[in-house]
Subunit: 281 residues, 2 copies
């Protein structure tokens, strides 16, 4: 089930302009969200973020159009839980890189089943040789060009890890293939600033709000891999899995802390309160 | 006119699987070629390059399938000249970055008119703040993720230049938004090695072959912007425009040399000999 420019298609295939710059140049952005009982969790945050990103790319789509399309698909998705993807491209263009003067953006929303079995599964990380390009605004956006992360993930799996840890061009921690990185040190929850080539993750933002109630001070600080090795606990965050504890970095076992599960429960509790469904299954 | 998986479609629209990883993740590569009188210039070089790139991405497409599709569209394109684009993606996949075990790649070929008026037009370059990520294998491939270059080009145009000069993470010259960079210094033709985050351009490769007949020694050498300012001439190369002289770098006028036009004529002469059409119009 997919929504292309407001038109619903059963299956995944639809008539598509193959000159769409999303396909030809990766010229677009996306968001990944969860919906439970037809309610999209933190939809406003996701819309805010993608609209801010489209400003960087230099084209606009009405917020209402995006909200309507996402809600429309969410209402048709399984009530037990769905992962929604919102894709916005600059639309079709002539040959070459220069965008059309009056772009007609393409909006796609798709849904996949939400799988509670994946939740809170520990990750093992391998540092990728591919650096996150923090000189590019795209390092702070969910752009369609995800192939660096695809290659980094494949390489990490070949090396026996479950995910890649990507550093930026200065050797500082940026992110995993599709997640922010946090470390817990005493009562401090530390994560790199967006300037280090980091997406302003929605769950990342929630943790800044939730930390004080757990007796934690959440701070942005540039991190190097040694900071992760010396932390009390390391974990990943994203909108689908909420929190994934990190058990290993380049083959070195990392300690954990009951606090990681407490933060996970706090996030799952938010979803339960807002959607009346528990993502923990 | 477009060929999608071997099926010809008039216009640009066709039934398309919107879960194609080319669209969702930029998971694919492309080539841009010219065809005159139905003959694709240096088709074997383009096929060689994209097949080598697909090895890096970790999936295969039969060479014959690509050759057949490109030739099929070339035979239908205007005999006076066409720009062909070959796009190969990993095909559809489930949600997430991990590729399917048995990918079914998508092959698209499209055609646009070739415009001789654009040939040998001088370029003015502005150094981009967005660096070419030479830590990524993609910096040496024509991957679908071209948005860094789109943003760099847009910024260069805002600053009054016609194109961006992209440096790598070490501050060395990488490329323009869609072209290799050469400089002429005495009897030396210098261009950065691919390790600096550079595509192994087809015209770039031709110049290595053609240089000796012009009394030049073509060499790969890492370049910094000051090398361009101190050159006898600077020019860009790509498969569509062949050679573009660079007249200006960040507002500083650059000298030129009759040798640049001689190299351009040598390339155009090759096309004339191989296709019986003169790309100079």
């Amino acid at each position: 089930m997919i929504l292309l420019d407001g038109v619903l298609h059963e299956g995944r295939s639809a008539p598509f302009d193959l000159a769409d710059r999303g396909l030809t140049l990766g010229d677009g952005l996306f968001e990944t969200m969860t919906a439970f009982g037809g309610t999209v969790w933190r939809l406003d945050d996701h819309l805010e973020r993608i609209l801010g990103g489209l400003d960087v790319l230099g084209f606009k789509v009405p917020r209402q159009r995006l909200a309507d399309d996402v809600r429309s698909l969410a209402s048709r998705a399984p009530a037990s839980g769905a992962v929604l993807r919102l894709t916005v491209t600059r639309g079709a263009g002539a040959r070459g890189l220069a965008p059309p003067d009056g772009p007609r953006p393409t909006v796609i929303v798709s849904a996949a089943p939400f799988d509670p079995v994946l939740m809170f599964q520990p990750a093992s990380l391998a540092v990728s040789a591919i650096r996150r390009n923090d000189t590019s605004p795209l390092s702070r956006l969910k752009s369609l060009g995800y192939l660096d992360n695809v290659l980094a993930l494949a390489d990490a799996r070949r090396r026996g890890a479950s995910d890649a840890l990507m550093l930026n061009t200065g050797g500082q921690v940026a992110c995993a293939s599709v997640a922010n990185v946090f470390c817990l040190k005493g009562d401090r929850l530390e994560t790199p600033p967006v300037e280090d080539g980091v997406l302003a993750g929605i769950v990342r933002g929630r943790l800044f709000e939730l930390a004080p109630a757990q007796g934690l001070a959440a701070v942005e600080r540039s991190l190097v891999p040694a900071d992760l090795l010396n932390a009390d606990a390391v974990f990943l965050t994203n909108s689908v899995r909420l929190i994934q504890p990190v058990a290993e970095l380049d083959g070195i076992r990392l300690p954990t802390s009951p606090m990681v599960a407490r933060l996970y429960d706090a996030l799952a509790g938010e979803i339960l309160a807002e959607t009346a469904r528990d993502p923990r299954g």
